[in-house]
Symmetry: C2
Subunit: 450 residues, 2 copies
């Protein structure tokens, strides 16, 4: 089978760009409108996207929400939202972000297993650690955990969740009315996890889904983050401004996975891309400028502060002057470095910098025609920079419609993208293997040896 581009779509109802809710096309109440999210899900499915992707926060502070100009200040919790949306779609996957820092693994395992069952095997879990003191203060702490401690906890959290997802073997349920045997107790397993952060006996009270268990997604960029991703992720969401850094990341992740005995084809690297699509380059640029014009200064400054872990308070600085140095942070180390890199490379003023990151928060922004955008995606896809992309339409629904109506057909013409879904589960569509339950695997190995 020819290798195809995988596509996720980031579709927050409040819009990706910080000021997108001011765009005439975008419903002002999109962030809290179930109807609008349904419309987005249906469009993504029409475009044959692999998955609808949502970020998540456990506080309102992230990305300049405190200033009164952000539509991202409040909205749905992603897992409950996706449970609702799954009923109005058939093939589209749903990848929800959830924190390893402020949830218990039993609860995490359970809500994603439940979403996976509800959707018929279309769930994914984007594993994150949660940064920022404002969030810590919603969970009985004064300050956030140090970076390394967060990642140790995250690694163990994922380990526990995976064990819990193997509580029932796939054929544990007999459901024989005549004998009264509902399930085979031999095929129900306790996890008996005892680790540094968690002691979890199990079993989980949710069975496996048609895809075995949810697809595991990660977005870590730091050394800790890459290590965790290479060990456990099946899809990696990543942020790059240039093909060169994307290639370095891609090759590093695949090498790390290989080093851990994993098949590198079973870990898909998907950089984020924010597309402004025009019938001409000028039209695309006009769309970019229009969205930029909606940003209020206070929100732009708040966004930069939020994206750099709350350590870069720019109030009082000349917005047309350079970005001042910032103190080190325990939160979002890589994102902070990326923002700094963008400022330095482009010689951006503070204003130019927030205008640029307002679109996609450090992800790759492409402005052009369907052809030139497809050229870029193809170049990345064919040169070890990407297995696919997470598309971040800067405003909604029009920028998503543009991508579906203009770019997707161009990718299909080039044979780079599917023309129909390959399967019903997210895993089938992504071309990822069905995860063998380790208990069933162990039994099969014993039987083979006998």
């Amino acid at each position: 089978m020819t290798r195809k581009i995988r596509l996720g779509a980031f579709l927050p109802g409040g819009g990706q760009h910080i000021a997108s809710w001011r765009h005439p096309d975008q419903p002002a109440d999109g962030a809290t409108s179930l109807e609008f999210h349904k419309q987005l899900a249906r469009t993504a499915e029409r475009g044959l996207f692999d998955a609808y992707f949502l970020a998540d926060n456990l506080s309102i502070g992230f990305g300049g929400a405190r200033e009164g100009g952000s539509a991202r200040v409040a909205g749905f919790e992603p897992v409950t939202l996706f449970a609702a949306l799954s009923g109005f779609t058939t093939n589209l996957g749903f990848i929800a972000t959830a924190s390893t820092t402020y949830e218990e693994p039993y609860n995490t395992a359970r809500k994603f297993a439940s979403l996976d069952l509800i959707s018929g095997g279309r769930a994914g879990w984007n594993v994150v650690t949660t940064t920022g003191d404002p969030t810590a203060q919603n969970f009985n702490l004064e300050t956030q955990l140090p970076h390394a401690a967060r990642y140790r906890r995250a690694a163990e959290h994922v380990e526990v969740v995976r064990k819990l997802w193997e509580s029932f073997e796939d054929d544990a349920f007999i459901r024989d009315k005549e004998s009264g045997v509902f399930y085979d107790p031999e095929k129900l397993h306790e996890s008996e996890h005892r680790g540094e952060h968690f002691q979890v006996r199990g079993p989980l009270n949710v069975p496996r889904s048609p895809q075995g268990h949810p697809v595991i997604v990660q977005a870590g960029q730091s050394d800790d983050g890459r290590g965790l991703a290479a060990a456990t992720a099946e899809v990696i969401f990543t942020a790059h401004q240039h093909i060169e850094t994307a290639q370095e990341f891609y090759r590093d992740i695949k090498a790390r996975a290989r080093g851990l005995g994993r098949n590198p084809d079973h870990i898909l690297v998907m950089p984020g891309v924010a597309p402004f699509v025009g019938r001409t380059k000028a039209e695309a640029e006009e769309k970019y400028d229009r969205l930029t014009s909606y940003i209020l200064e206070a929100d732009g400054v708040g966004l930069l502060n939020g994206l750099t872990g709350g350590t870069l308070d720019l109030r009082g600085y000349d917005l047309d002057g350079p970005l001042p140095p910032a103190p080190p942070t325990e939160g979002m180390k890589s994102r902070q470095a990326l923002i700094r890199q963008i400022a330095d490379e482009n010689n951006f003023s503070i204003r130019q910098l927030y205008q640029w990151v307002a679109t996609a928060r450090g992800h790759f922004t492409v402005v052009g025609t369907a052809e030139t955008i497809a050229d870029t995606l193809q170049e990345w896809f064919e040169n070890e920079a990407a297995d696919g992309f997470n598309i971040l339409p800067p405003w909604l629904p029009t920028a998503l419609d543009d991508f579906v109506d203009l770019v997707i057909p161009e990718l299909q013409r080039r044979g780079l993208f599917r023309t129909e879904y390959e399967g019903r589960t997210l895993r089938e569509n992504l071309g990822l293997p069905f995860p063998v339950n380790r208990w069933a695997g162990a039994r099969a190995a014993v039987q083979a040896a006998e």
Copy 2:
């Protein structure tokens, strides 16, 4: 407006009665079938029920699930399930159980606020403390918390959740595209909670729903439980075998609420009732006997053990002999006392006891015609024993269909039950007041004084 009976429906897809999955009418895979749960929700809405109600557990041990004969061993997590079901219904409320013992209040507040938004104001939270060592062992503990400690934590958990639900005032969102003002920061509030168990700064990142916030439901029977319910509950689910104990409970709760300055009409007492409906009494009894015949001994014994907090291991006892004494428990104190009371009053053997509690786990079981069942409900409703009932159809879907097709019309003929929904939100249908946001209330009070 004449006072009307309120009705909730407990509809676990695996069936209420421990062996109901063996009934020919019940789909053997009902516990994990979204389609079956959709069908149940639609029938409940056709019957004009106020709400679909689901219990919850954070382990598989509860109620005899370990023996291999229970369909309740695994299923959906209720909040995600209800998010999905809300899309296929219009007026039906959804009351999900969630634990105050093993979740963080920020996460609890958020998932219920999200369900409330998704459903357009039809969510309720059944507040419980979680008992049992097997569950504690899924959350980093060896043994469960003592009864009193669980209730102290529960009271504070509810307090924090209610504060978080007031983060945004109802009119906080301006969404003015022209000025770029999305919300009024003056109408966003931190909770600043600092208590014995929780320190939660807030605000919550979900706005209020059309019903203000989810309806708060409780089921405590012990003195601690009654105190918590009188202070915070809007609906109380309770288990009684006789009108006399139901009246004692009803009057006690209303008196406690009055003593706390609450309007006793704003706290609805709804005992559980498991109905076997026949066109004749003999037909109803035949239905009861048939379901009883499906219980396997091991599951019956496991059920009694589970219902008494895991302290009553009956393996090895003569099943046709009396119930032995049990050690005191820190879990489900009231349920253990109720089970004992049923055994003593009826002079039940172990076998007879599990056969009786298999239907409704200690709730009131009525076996008769639509007329005699309506007589009983009317008697309780008109004599300070109940404001409504939580109906627990012993098997599904037929026992629910029977209730909707036979008992509901009889209640309607008597003028005791609605003939159409009064409103769109759960709160409107239950006749409960819209909760005034305390920040808006405080502002209004200041303005009135000026």
